[in-house]
């Protein structure tokens, strides 16, 4: 069994909690003094850094939500100056405004360390060739995994997404041993390889999949492992936390959340109460060392539970179990977060279509297809097909820009989409995971 940081990874539960308390206390003191956002929040909650006397006092601290990040666009919550920032990543927000995440050098280092520990825990290291088929750019997946893989001394093949046939050729020719991508993209790669007459199991050196950015199941794991002859590991993170952050170990039973990096809680979404180990609720993380964009009790919105027991692999940190769904209506389309509210927001600026819409998500082969149905307004109806097609293309273009994901648009008759009183069901997700 290999460890990257045995000192931290095997720390006893008691020492680990002492360490977390120290980190939490200094984080709270720092933010109370230097962050107007957290200062105000703590005042509202009537909590002072002096009230944090033990680790359990974390429950006295206020929560933070995605909407707080939206309201702080682009950088109002940052506690680092622009000179101290070394990188930005940008992810989709719940409305037209995206979420900007800034990183200091220390933030990047701790992100990279977190992944180095995880990659080591799944048996990767020097001599491995890791193909990074996550998107590089504003999305955190590509660059995040890239630095983690370099850190452990592996050779990185930064293919990013797309051009699948070339990816498969390179995988063969450069003897790739591990691939990092979304589970649906790996399925797609498998299908394309079959069409090319290549059996990934026999004709490549691929042994490991690091799969994340969208939810998947044990059933998909078994299928991919048998079909492709690999061990498939889940990886978890969100851009607010830095990016893909935590992986499973070879036990394949939950993501190890390193205790010096994050304090994990599970919160009952209805009452806001902290739940016991093993109970399902809203995953809530406090990032203990983040500098540029601090996160105290950030309610991620992913539903899971936490296992506090020491893992059979020897690591003592708590493990987050597989993600079972969302608290809100966020969709993940080809690894990209999509909120129905973003669609609504984008449509508001297009007078040719009404405000009503319906999203239909399907999986064709291995990839997600998103269809948005919109109603053509009476005023914009033209007898000319080309005019109508222009409207259709305009909506597709606007949605693509707003969501960063390709969308098909269907024009439907006015009044034909279902109307809802109260909570509307605007999404039909036909994917079966």
């Amino acid at each position: 069994m290999q460890f990257w940081d045995p000192r931290i990874e095997e720390l006893s539960k008691a020492d680990l909690q002492k360490m977390q308390y120290k980190l939490l206390k200094s984080l709270v003191c720092r933010l109370y003094s230097f962050s107007p956002f957290y200062h105000d929040r703590m005042k509202e909650q009537k909590v002072h850094p002096d009230d944090i006397k033990e680790l359990a006092d974390v429950t006295k601290l206020p929560f933070m939500f995605k909407r707080d990040l939206r309201d702080s666009y682009p950088n109002k919550i940052f506690t680092a100056t622009q000179e101290e920032l070394v990188r930005y990543h940008v992810s989709s927000g719940t409305t037209g405004k995206p979420t900007v995440v800034g990183y200091t050098q220390k933030d990047l280092d701790s992100w990279t360390t977190s992944l180095a520990r995880g990659f080591t825990a799944i048996g990767l290291g020097r001599g491995d060739v890791i193909q990074v088929s996550y998107g590089y750019g504003l999305f955190t997946g590509g660059l995040g995994v890239h630095y983690g893989a370099e850190r452990i001394g592996a050779t990185v093949l930064p293919t990013s997404v797309g051009n699948t046939e070339r990816q498969i050729e390179l995988m063969q020719d450069l003897e790739v041993t591990a691939i990092a991508c979304t589970p649906s993209y790996l399925l797609h790669i498998g299908e394309v390889a079959e069409k090319m007459g290549i059996d990934i199991k026999k004709d490549t050196h691929l042994k490991t999949g690091i799969l994340g950015a969208e939810p998947w199941t044990e059933g998909m794991r078994t299928r991919m492992e048998n079909w492709l002859g690999i061990r498939a590991y889940d990886i978890y993170g969100t851009s607010e936390l830095s990016g893909p952050m935590f992986t499973e170990c070879t036990e394949q039973n939950g993501f190890h959340v390193w205790s010096d990096i994050a304090l994990v809680e599970v919160i009952d979404p209805k009452t806001g109460e902290q739940l016991e180990s093993g109970e399902k609720g809203d995953l809530t993380l406090t990032m203990l060392q983040k500098e540029a964009l601090p996160m105290i009790r950030y309610r991620i919105g992913d539903i899971s539970s936490v296992d506090e027991d020491v893992c059979p692999c020897g690591r003592t940190s708590p493990r987050i179990k597989r993600i079972q769904g969302r608290v809100d209506d966020m969709l993940i389309i080809r690894g990209i977060n999509v909120f129905p509210s973003q669609v609504e927001y984008a449509l508001m600026s297009i007078p040719e279509v009404g405000q009503h819409f319906q999203i239909v998500v399907e999986r064709t082969g291995a990839l997600d297809d998103m269809l948005v149905k919109v109603e053509l307004t009476k005023e914009s109806f033209s007898d000319k097909i080309t005019d109508l097609m222009q409207i259709q293309q305009k909506v597709e273009h606007r949605l693509r820009n707003a969501l960063n994901v390709a969308v098909d648009v269907e024009l439907v008759e006015p009044g034909s989409l279902p109307r809802f009183e109260g909570k509307s069901k605007k999404v039909i997700d036909k994917r079966s995971l």
Partner: protein
């Protein structure tokens, strides 16, 4: 020249491309005792436009609008063609020579002769050119 009498009001209906839509339109018109004299369907990606010449366009418009359809009037012209080889060529050539663009067109075999329905970009010009070529245009009073 008074070209107005040759301008015919076509109704155009936006329709999703799925089973039963045409039946629904036709049923509504039938219930109102509106006769369809000619019609065509143009289809695109996921939707279509039903175009029809009817004997009572105003009533058809009212009825379909009340059912929630997107309906519009479009000006078209109807040319009587010789129902024989070369008949279409004569008309198309007149318009082509005059640089008048046909946006779309459909035809039906009328009681006495074939009829070509045309949607063109310059309606008045088209009417003058067709008449001066010696061809016959149907007046709107024939339809409604």
């Amino acid at each position: 020249m008074d070209t107005k009498k040759y301008v015919i009001k076509q109704i155009s209906i936006f329709s999703e491309n799925r089973p039963g839509r045409l039946a629904s339109v036709a049923q509504a018109l039938g219930e109102e005792k509106i006769n369809i004299l000619a019609f065509s369907i143009a289809e695109a990606n996921g939707f279509g436009v039903i175009r029809a010449l009817v004997d009572h366009p105003e009533e058809a418009y009212e009825k379909l609008s009340s059912l929630g359809y997107n309906v519009a009037f479009t000006d078209v012209i109807a040319v009587q063609m010789k129902d024989q080889p070369g008949g279409l060529f004569e008309i198309a050539k007149v318009l082509g020579d005059a640089e008048i663009n046909i946006e779309y067109s459909y035809a039906y075999s009328g009681k006495t002769a074939a009829v070509l329905i045309l949607r063109v970009d310059q309606v008045d010009d088209a009417i003058e050119k067709i008449l001066s070529s010696g061809a016959t245009l149907l007046e709107h009073s024939i339809f409604h």
